[in-house]
Amino acid sequence: MEMPSPNPAILARKGRLAERLLAVLPADAVIQDEAETRAYECDALTAYKCPPLMVVLPRSTQEVSEVLRICHEEGVPVVPRGAGTSLAGGALPTADCVILGVARMNEVLETDLENRIIRVQTGRTNLSVSGAVEEEEFFYAPDPSSQLACAIAGNIAMNSGGAHCLKYGVTTNNLLGATMVMMDGTVVEIGGAHLDAGGLDLLGVICGSEGQLGVVTEATLRILRKPEGARPVLIGFDSNEVAGACVSGIIKAGVLPVAIEFMDRPCIKACEAFAKAGYPMCEALLIIEVEGSESEIGHQLGLITEIARSHNPVELREAGDTDEAARIWLGRKSAFGAMGQINDYMCLDGTIPVSSLPFVLRRIGEMSKEFGLDVANVFHAGDGNMHPLILFDANKPGDLETCEAFGAEILKLCVEAGGCLTGEHGVGIEKRDLMLHQYTEADLEAQLKVKDVFDPKWLLNPAKVFPLSVTASRRTLKLAAE
């Protein structure tokens, strides 16, 4: 993966930059020692590492503003960082950048149950947002797998989803307002506690912009009252096609489950070995969860099992109580851990139209043989967001490269099937060079024009999202201007 070479002029100015940053931040908020900056050399895409020039850990919007103003004046690139859980390399540094970590900004600023909102500093973790309103029976809906660790700042940057977004939407559908610091230090307030921010939908374009348009320091989020109850059903099939047809049948029947999770045989096998959840050995397994009162749950599960039975399932297991519900979820929730036990793996994130599911799974199976690497599939079937896990051996020379080439082919397949490169992880560096498979240069140019408005000097996370060749003139313009 190519990254731009560091600008020697910036490296030479490290001392002056540190001095200026220390004038506006407490001493413990500026990290410049090489041994300590190494802790920030990568995010959860650990195959790529590069210690940054410096790390700053501000505690307030005001401090973030000071940092950005100084970096803007000095012409130093800034890579914003939430909790560093990106699987796409969204927070990967360059040697000449300042990492701006928001982890110390984790306060709840306002909880307003009457208006069903919470306002937080964005360094707060996803799960602890729900935690802050849990006693009052409320929750924050987007639930990425990394929710214990990941920060709201990163959720906003990547427009994170989760298992329950079929019903509740992703981050952008639950974000009502933001305090954002622009690269030149200007602080802007967008939206608030009212449902629709006025003017152009700037909140919509900031969410998912991967830290390239500004640094969101505070967010107003929509919270919801918890449903009365929830219960899953587990259904096994002897082919992916039939499982796919069952999903489509359920949706057509007017049932809208909160989650429809799909696992294929390799994934079932690995999860079973790891978590011993008692899953049946079959080709495809669905976990479908519905919500409501006891009688509402019963009615919806009745409709779902009726449709499932018409597809001759090899297994159909309704959770009778909370213990059984937990056992049904146990395997799925440990899928990634299970894979990590047996192999190194790369987790992909393409989305496909639900109707293409059988075709895409069959092609992935064929490609697995061609590349000589195993794949396990686990994904959110209701919305077509796939997570193929390609297994490889990091210690075997060439295996990572083969894995990456295989992954790229799977993502191209998703695009050909009418889908997209990434459903919830973001582009980062990982899918950057595939962007021209989904979009034309003119399509990308329209996106670059947005960045030109928010960050004319192209200093915020500049080497991400777009192929380097496409952004080269803009990034070098910045260097030439100095």
Binding site: L113, E114, N115, R116, M158, G161, V170, T172, N173, M182, V187, V188, I190, A193, H194, L195, A197, G198, G199, L200, L202, G204, V205, C207, G208, S209, R225, K226, P227, S248, I251, A253, G254, V255, G292, S293, S295, E296, H299, T351, V354, D383, G384, G418, C420, L421, T422, G423, G426, V427, M435, Q438, Y439, D443, A446, Q447, K449, V450, D452, F466
Partner: protein
Amino acid sequence: MGALPPNPQNVWTKKKMMTPGSEAELAEAVAGASGPFSIQGGGTRGLAVEGEVLSSRGLSGVELYEPGALTLVVKAGTPVAEVEALLAAQKQRLAFEPMDHRGLLGTDGEPTIGGVIAANVSGPRRIQAGAARDHLLGVRFVDGSGQVVKNGGRVMKNVTGYDLVKLMCGAHGTLGVLTEVSLKVLPRAEASATVTVTGVDLPGAVRMMSAALGSPYDVTGAAYDAGTYQAHVRVEGFQDSAAYRSAKLVELLSPFGLAEVQEDAGDLWQGIRDVSAFHERAGDVWRISVKPSDAADLAPRLEAEALQFDWGGGLIWALVPEGTDLRARINVPGHATLVRAAQGTRARLGVFQPQPGPLAAISAGLRCQFDPRGILNPGLMG
């Protein structure tokens, strides 16, 4: 309808109109013209500006509809009625419940799906299902230099690159002319039940709607009519489920007033959606978006002739004497849109609320990038 102000839409539609028959023709027309253009779908939403009318009505038809994937791809000039009929045949719908502006504005013509999206038009269900922008999966549009651009796609989860889909929704054609939109559709509920609470004043109604929206009963509408002192709370779903939840809501809401269930209140919600209470009345109409709990204190300050509250109090429709600058009376965060007024008032006060400096600069920057010649609905949004 004699009492209504002259409809500005009709003033401009007498002028020249261009109706390209394809996206390529539209792109060519924009590239070759010097403008300015007044972008129009069905011309029912009263947002015309001075200039040659550029109509999307020549771009009509369904590109793809997969009920099992909840996905619809449709050309921008397709009539909303056609889309709704197509979905209804599969027991599905546009869950954001777009308002029909014709009755309120005295316009005629066929509303188009492109117009709904360009103006981000949503109805009472917005509080639960989201706005139009939350159901928009992808767009194709022609920017101000005549370049065709696509963004997003047809799948429900997509974070590939910047979300220009949201940016285009609610841009009112100022960043580009929509040619095609992809939408997430949802199952139509089997049943609907409305709990009506009678004899409740505004502060009580806002607290009551807040209690309903903060309950686990999945409320899809919460509105208050200040004229009749009635608040309405809607639930939807399977028959038994709607009955169960409406009964629970009657229990929950009875302390606020006399609470009763209405089984089929479709006309009531359509009236709330389209603000039918103001249809035959003269005066300017404003649409105000605020934090729901601010509604009760704000309402008397508006000195309005009539008020309607939707979204649990967060959406206020106000009928005021012609020429009133309502924004000057609003002292809480939010914004106000001038939906119906004479041309002079619209020109003087602006349809959309002016934004604070830094946001206005970003918006102006975006307009300049996407429409460098300033020919797409110039002046409409700032």
